[in-house]
């Protein structure tokens, strides 16, 4: 602070304000006090408490702003022979506000002892004996009040109260309920330490010390972070008790978002590698809850950067491994020419990632796999106008397909329910030149994937189904096992299969997929005719059906008498389809909600 400007302002104040001190208390927010916000209201409560305790009305109050690590010193001339109580309340991100009073020789005479963003000092300048004999003169003594933002930055409302020496009931619990409760950072610190150990195993070193903040829902906190070329960075944040959802964002020098973690938890993590030096900004937002949060950045040279390992699930298969298994099974069904679109990428809960590629002419299939195992991966395939296929089953594996007549650009969107990683690849359907029959339309693609590889050359039956027109097929030879698959064309979004014996439901596949498969082995003597129902749950159109074991339905003649006894078919063990099935519509309700559609 320099003397000149302050002298000027003080002079102006003297010129404009000579007269009696203001007698009215500070009831309404004045221009100096600022808006009637939470800080002003808290100060109003503090003012009333001081009045009640006998410290009079505030002679003045005003608002200022302090930055962390910095302070302001204000010259004040205090009347001798009385006492002055200075109080201050901080708002915003101010967590620790200090106040110190120095006398006219710069010696410290009083210091604030209030914790947190409140401050109070009480000084009683002594009256010198010779002053008392002077007449017509109000004796004052120079003092300096220093405000210090020890932790955090924010607005501060300051007020003073003048009282007689010895007056007042004291200041015990004066700030009770007016200050934000202290938030322990111990829990957050411990969580960050745990994360630090995990990342150290990957060769990453902490970038400085962790930062801690006390935050409430809706608040965000930004800090700059310098990124060095050729290094990979990981930023982890942890929320303490009461913090339910914390999100992390990383912005580049021009403010574009380059990484984020929007997971619905209080332990976000993002990673970002840079090829050039960057001045980035890290933002932490509390979406739900309130309490302590901490954040710490790590880095490692790109050459030493090791992808995360599942320390708690050491046997967990990586997505690329799971996808490889799937592709091998697809190959046995007539799909080959593998092209990996994504080999390994991180994905966060609820996040959608879109990839563009060209498919056709002919049928092509995009398969994805996520990890860890509990991650639910969904795929959406869209051309320029609409979504042409989707796989929203609750599973870590998913696939979508298209059969364009000419080469057509598509967008495939990957959406995850859970935090993890994923891999994505494209395969092309057989054109019939090899041993397997040609796969020429979507229904046959789906059917090929819903059956066993060794049934790929079995004959296909075609039916037309509608919402109110289920197809019912009689299963004639039913002393052994029934294994049948059905797949729908593009116009049928969900097809179900139900196997009944009389009125008894023996087995069904009612999953939210345009294909279905039922496998059932009879455990006892047959009590009635076996019937297979094909139901179009959503949409209408053509479906194809293939019996996967040596069973053929009799002609579709309603009310036909039971078929004659046939030699029993040896039971077969249930087979695992490539794509999981046997889930109910209820279980998949979330996945087929309209708002889950990423393109809408």
């Amino acid at each position: 602070m320099v003397a000149g400007p302050v002298l000027l302002w003080t002079g102006l104040a003297l010129a404009a304000g000579c007269g009696a001190p203001p007698e009215e208390p500070v009831d309404e927010p004045s221009e100096l006090l600022g808006p009637l916000d939470d800080l002003a209201r808290r100060f109003g409560r503090l003012r009333r408490r001081l009045e009640t305790r006998g410290y009079g009305q505030p002679t003045q109050a005003f608002r200022t702003f302090v930055l962390q690590g910095e302070g302001e010193a204000l010259p004040v001339d205090l009347a001798t022979g009385t006492c002055t109580t200075w109080v201050a309340l901080g708002g915003g991100g101010l967590r620790d506000l200090g106040m110190t009073v120095f006398d006219g020789d710069g010696a410290e005479v009083a210091s604030d002892a209030v914790r947190g963003e409140g401050a109070l000092v009480h000084v009683c300048p002594p009256q010198r004996q010779e002053d008392t004999v002077r007449r017509g003169f109000t004796e004052t003594a120079p003092y300096y009040v220093e405000l210090d933002a020890a932790d955090g930055s924010g607005a501060v409302v300051v007020g003073s109260f003048v009282s007689a020496v010895g007056a007042g009931e004291g200041f015990a619990d004066l700030f009770e309920g007016l200050l934000v409760p202290p938030v322990p950072f111990v829990e957050v610190e411990a969580a960050l330490t745990e994360a630090r150990e995990t990342l150290r195993e990957r060769g990453m070193q902490p970038e400085g010390e962790p930062d801690f903040e006390r935050m409430v829902a809706g608040r965000s906190w930004r800090r700059p972070i310098a990124l060095e070329a050729g290094r990979c960075y990981a930023v982890v944040a942890r929320g303490g008790a009461g913090v339910e959802d914390v999100d992390l964002y990383l912005y580049d020098a021009v403010g574009a978002e380059v990484a984020r973690d929007l997971g619905q938890d209080a332990a976000p993590r993002l990673e970002h590698c840079v090829d050039e030096d960057e001045s980035a900004t890290l933002e932490l937002r509390v979406f739900a809850g309130q309490g302590a949060v901490g954040v710490l950045a790590f880095s490692a040279p790109q050459s030493e950067h090791v992808e995360p390992t599942h320390t708690t699930e050491e046997n967990e298969e990586e997505p690329i491994v799971v996808l490889g298994e799937t592709l091998r099974e697809f190959e046995a069904r007539g799909f080959d020419d593998v092209l990996y679109v994504v080999r390994d990428a991180a994905i966060n809960p609820g996040e959608s990632r879109t990839h563009r590629l060209t498919l056709g002419p002919g049928c092509a299939l995009l398969a994805g796999a996520g990890g860890p195992e509990e991650l639910d991966l969904d795929l959406y395939l869209a051309d320029d106008t609409e979504t042409v296929d989707r796989d929203t089953r609750v599973h870590r594996r998913a696939w979508v397909a298209a059969c364009p007549a000419v080469a057509t650009p598509y967008r495939v969107t990957v959406k995850a329910y859970g935090r993890g990683r994923y891999a994505l690849a494209r395969v092309v359907a057989s054109t019939g030149e090899g041993a397997l029959p040609a796969i020429t339309d979507i229904a046959r693609v789906r059917l090929a994937l819903a059956m066993d590889a060794d049934a790929a050359d079995a004959p296909v039956e075609t039916y037309v189904v509608g919402p109110d027109e289920p197809v019912e097929i009689r299963v004639p030879r039913n002393d052994g096992c029934v294994d049948v698959a059905v797949a729908a064309s593009e116009s049928v979004l969900d097809v179900d299969l139900l196997l009944r014996e009389g009125d008894t439901l023996l087995a069904s596949d009612t999953g939210p997929a345009p294909w279905a498969r039922v496998t059932h082995c009879l455990s006892g003597p047959r009590t009635g005719p076996l019937r297979l129902q094909i139901v179009a749950y959503r949409g209408e159109g053509e479906v194809v059906l293939r019996w996967l074991h040596d069973q053929r339905p009799e002609p579709r003649v309603p009310n036909e008498s039971p078929a004659p006894n046939l030699a029993p078919v040896p039971p077969v063990a249930p087979v695992a389809p490539i794509v999981p099935a046997m889930r109910t519509h209820m279980a998949a309700t979330r996945a087929i909600e309209p708002q889950e559609e990423p393109f809408e």
């Binding site: 400007p5 302050v6 000579c18 005003f62 020789d105 710069g106 120079p142």
Partner: protein, 168 residues
């Protein structure tokens, strides 16, 4: 410090003064906004006397103020070539150390006091505007006085610091 805050504080200070009907009243000896401390002045006078004995004379008024811990302030001065200058700084007891620096008109640092020495010495190669900066470790009052003297002589400054018992 922002002007708004200063205005607020100035208005805040106002009710404490005794201005009013007693127009014949004596003016108080010291105002806080003058940043004048008897103890600091005593030490400034003592050290100034030593500088004067070395051929230097006072330049202008004493620059005073209050620095918060780790705070800084600057003052613009005019220096002439052919002369040398001593900038002497004194602070109150709560200031643990006072750093003095001199910058040219472009902002380049041209002189700085050595730790433990309350003054710097500089002989400008050309006349112009310079900036004196003070930075404190600890909070308190400070006073800075500038002296002008002849070029070509060495000036001892390390004996200007007061003994611990003499600190303001």
């Amino acid at each position: 410090m922002r002007s708004r805050s200063l205005a607020a504080w100035a208005l805040f200070v106002l009710p404490m003064f005794g201005c009013g009907e007693e127009v014949e009243a004596e003016v108080p000896e010291r105002r806080a906004a003058e940043y004048r401390s008897e103890r600091v002045d005593v030490e400034m006078d003592r050290a100034s006397e030593v500088v004067r004995t070395r051929g230097f004379t006072d330049q202008g008024v004493v620059w005073r103020g209050f620095l918060v811990d780790r705070g800084a302030a600057t003052d613009q001065v005019s220096l002439r070539s052919g002369n040398c200058y001593v900038v002497l700084g004194v602070a109150s007891s709560a200031v643990e150390s006072l750093e003095l620096s001199l910058f040219d008109s472009d902002g380049a640092a041209v002189a700085r006091n050595t730790p433990g020495t309350p003054a710097l010495h500089y002989c400008p190669p050309g006349s112009g505007t310079f900036f004196v900066a003070v930075r404190a470790s600890g909070s308190g009052l400070f006073a800075v006085r500038r002296f002008e003297g002849p070029a070509g002589i060495d000036v001892r400054l390390d004996d200007l610091a007061p003994s611990p018992s003499e600190r303001p």
